[in-house]
């Protein structure tokens, strides 16, 4: 990386990436994750965290090596975010201990009280008849559960991360469903381009595999029920794909104004060249049948980066392994990339780590940058029976390639589509 330009093709501050952090079911940190991903190892396994008795989906990519007490989504998500952010900040060598010289944008899963806590409060209420929320309110009024207020409001994870790493200003907690991690990055890019900050800590995290979350997705018929063997369930772009597998983890990126990064002698790992987004008002869970919003999001990212489709070397797919997404994503990519689509390598990390939901966009951006750095594309595993209706060059085994530009797609429930163009050099 010898290019020292500091403005992009549209004369905006270039946004460099100087630190990466990652936690998934495959492990903690870049080294373990990269080794597993390129070896085609799956992090999906039978759920051990709670009883799956009676459930049609009994597998997930939970992160079992990091624990919290109580084991609730906000605490677990915070723990993953801390681990990823610590790795990213250490790599970036930015600021000082507890002094991150920039803003925090963190995608977090929606927060609510969970069943163990509800049960504890019901018990504490002393209600021996039918339990209602009046009983839970009474238990709350006993003052015994005051510490749980912070646990179950939305801003606490960001507050703790901001405290721990000393980020500046008011931290942003955000969600765009499955696009959330990418949106966190986009917000950071925009803030640096506006000159508001010179650095941003962008995180996507999700530790919400619990009975109700699993059942909610199950009731929407979104999850794979191919429980045995667990590692084979997530099969993006395959003919017999039947839904996604829930995953957990966090991805963290340190973004910096390239000029500032150069000035302090930071090692630049790559650039976020472009971000594009487009909403879809067709349906709450399904995409517009013409694929227009997804296509628009891809074009918007390419335009923002100032590159043509030909500049993309590989696509890091949203690739959830649902019948609908994979078909729509293939259609969208084919529309944008034309006849080249049959030769443009595309791969889905979700085949190995599952759908990490709020974290996905950030985790997959990290993997995209590692792909550029190592010149190797991780595989889409379980691609045994290709879907003949999907004309993509799916990377079925890890593939060495010169990768300068990656398009990373995230298409979310509720219709928010966000795409990123990541690159090794300015456009």
């Amino acid at each position: 990386m010898t290019n020292t330009s500091s403005r992009d093709a549209k004369n905006r501050p270039l946004v460099a990436v100087t630190g990466l952090g990652i936690v998934t079911s495959l492990g903690q940190g870049q080294a373990d994750n990269w080794a597993a991903l390129t070896a085609g190892r799956s992090g999906i396994h039978a759920i051990r965290r709670f009883s799956t008795e009676g459930l049609r989906t009994r597998i997930a990519g939970t992160v079992d090596f990091l624990d919290t007490d109580p084991l609730v989504a906000p605490l677990l998500s915070q723990r993953f975010a801390e681990a990823a952010a610590e790795e990213a900040i250490a790599q970036a060598g930015i600021g000082g201990l507890g002094r991150f010289p920039g803003a925090l944008f963190i995608a977090v899963p929606p927060v609510e009280m969970e069943w163990p806590q509800r049960r504890a409060m019901a018990e504490a209420s002393g209600q021996n008849g039918a339990v209602t929320y009046t009983d839970l309110q009474r238990a709350a009024a006993s003052r015994r559960f005051d510490a749980w207020h912070d646990l179950f409001i939305f801003g606490t994870v960001a507050d703790h991360i901001a405290d721990r790493f000393g980020t500046q200003g008011s931290p942003i907690s955000l969600s765009t469903a499955c696009s959330s991690g990418a949106t966190a990055i986009q917000l950071g890019v925009e803030a640096i381009r506006r000159g508001e900050v010179e650095a941003a800590l962008c995180i996507g995290t999700d530790g919400s595999v619990n009975p109700e979350s699993l059942i909610r997705f199950s009731l929407l018929s979104a999850l794979s029920t191919q429980n045995d063997p667990p590692e084979a369930a997530s099969k993006p772009f395959s003919k017999n794909r039947d839904g996604f597998v829930m995953g957990e983890g966090a991805g963290a990126l340190v973004l910096e104004n390239a000029e500032t990064a150069h000035a302090r002698g930071a090692k630049i790992l790559g650039y976020v060249l472009g971000c594009g987004e487009k909403g879809d008002g067709f349906h709450r869970t399904r995409s517009s049948p013409d694929g227009a919003p997804g296509i628009a999001a891809i074009h918007a990212a390419l335009d923002d980066a100032g590159v043509t489709p030909d500049a993309i070397d590989t696509i890091n797919a949203h690739g959830t392994s649902t019948p609908e997404n994979d078909k729509m994503e293939a259609m969208g990519c084919a529309a944008v990339f034309g006849e080249r689509i049959g030769r443009l390598p595309i791969s889905s990390n979700k085949s190995m780590i599952g759908h990490t939901l709020t974290a996905a966009g950030a985790i997959e951006a990290v993997v995209s940058l590692l792909t550029i750095a190592h010149g190797r594309i991780p595989p889409t595993i379980n691609y045994a029976v290709p879907d003949p209706a999907i004309p993509l060059d799916v990377v079925a085994a890890a593939r060495d390639a010169r990768v300068s530009r990656v398009l990373s797609n995230s298409f979310g429930f509720g219709g928010q589509n966000t795409c990123l163009v990541l690159g090794d050099e300015p456009a």
Partner: protein
């Protein structure tokens, strides 16, 4: 840098719907609706009855949502009407949306039945799974997901440029306005719909806010008069507020009336300790470029310590200036505090009742914000 103007407002709360009802409510001294019975021992300020069909024409859309999302979609529609954009499909398709909110309502009957059954269940894990699988309406999740308020606004009103959802209580509303203002001022985007929705009439949120003792379990009393033992705390109100923000050029080009100008929003997160709220407020006030405005709209919550500190600070920063607490108009609406404040301020300015209004948002638990609205 562009000037950022407000060209549309959509407001619903206990005060009713629309700007006139809310401007009237600013001087009433107490919220229009107060209910001490339905959620006893907690007081709430319930939303005025709405004719949902007016903004959510399809019954199937109404059924997919619970009150929290319906209020937000309704207010978003009012804002689009107010800005003269409701019929402009092309502009709406390019408009960006930022929503500040929490999450949706629990099915409290199902929860209660499950908690009752869990007490004697031989295999609690299996019992929980079976009950959730069988008793939860499959689409309830979509009515609960934080980002689906934005999703429903996209579906019902066709606002599909892009959407983001900010969470995090009061600060989320302040920062939604802050970032929207900054994106438009810097030319990153031309036109945005920004706001939030909160439903207070739900027992599940009362459990969360009773933990920590934040809820006032007594009849209404003005926010700045909740001194003394057992008086402190907020009274939740149901409401939703949305603003259409545009660059001045964009508004002019399409012949839209600029109601007011939104200046760069100031926000921060201080370490909470005595004196920190006053110091933080003062620093943000100066950063906002405020001297002595004509009016102050305060998002003070009534929580002990910080409310009195804010009151004293405002008396120093804006001596003699009328201060109206949103808690005395709409009740406390958490994420919607900043949007309500900014919208009411824009209304006052548009009606020439003020030339400059300051809005404060001191979060009940964390976060401070100051918003400055001026004549366009």
């Amino acid at each position: 840098m562009s000037s950022v103007v407000v060209t549309g407002l959509g407001l619903v709360s206990c005060a009713g719907e629309g700007l006139d009802a809310h401007l009237d409510a600013l001087t009433a001294g107490a919220p229009a609706r107060t209910d001490t019975e339905r959620f006893a021992p907690y007081t709430v300020h319930p939303v005025a009855p709405l004719a949902l069909d007016g903004q959510i024409p399809k019954k199937s859309d109404q059924r997919q949502m619970e009150p929290w999302q319906r209020l937000g979609v309704y207010a978003a529609g009012l804002a689009l009407d107010s800005a003269g954009l409701k019929q402009d499909a092309a502009l709406k398709a390019a408009m960006h949306l930022v929503v500040a909110c929490g999450g949706g309502e629990r099915d409290t009957e199902v929860d209660g039945a499950i908690l009752t059954g869990l007490r004697d269940a031989a295999d609690p894990g299996a019992y929980l799974n079976e009950r959730l699988l069988n008793d939860l309406r499959p689409t309830l999740f979509l009515a609960q997901l934080s980002n689906l308020l934005a999703g429903n606004i996209a579906i019902v009103h066709g606002v599909t440029g892009a959407s983001r959802t900010f969470m995090g209580e009061e600060a989320a509303g302040t920062d939604a306005l802050r970032i929207a203002q900054a994106r438009i001022a810097s030319g990153q985007v031309d036109c945005m719909l920004v706001g939030g929705s909160y439903s207070a009439e739900r027992p599940d949120v009362m459990v969360v806010h009773e933990m920590g003792g934040y809820l006032r379990a007594k009849p209404f009393r003005p926010v700045f008069s909740r001194n003394g033992a057992d008086e402190a705390g907020f009274i939740l109100g149901s409401g939703a507020a949305f603003l259409v923000l545009e660059s001045a050029e964009h508004a002019k080009a399409r012949g839209a009336t600029a109601l007011a100008r939104l200046m760069p929003v100031q926000s921060d997160r201080s370490r909470r300790e005595p004196g920190a709220t006053a110091a933080g407020l003062e620093a943000l006030w100066r950063a906002a470029g405020l001297g002595v405005p004509d009016r102050v709209i305060s998002g003070a919550t009534g929580v002990a310590g910080i409310t009195a500190e804010e009151g004293a600070a405002l008396a120093r920063l804006a001596p003699g200036v009328p201060v109206t607490a949103l808690g005395d108009v709409t009740g406390h609406t958490l994420e919607v505090t900043a949007p309500f404040g900014a919208a009411l301020a824009a209304g006052l300015v548009a009606r020439a009742q003020a030339r400059e209004v300051a809005i404060t948002t001191i979060g009940h638990r964390r976060g401070e914000g100051v918003i400055r609205v001026c004549a366009a």
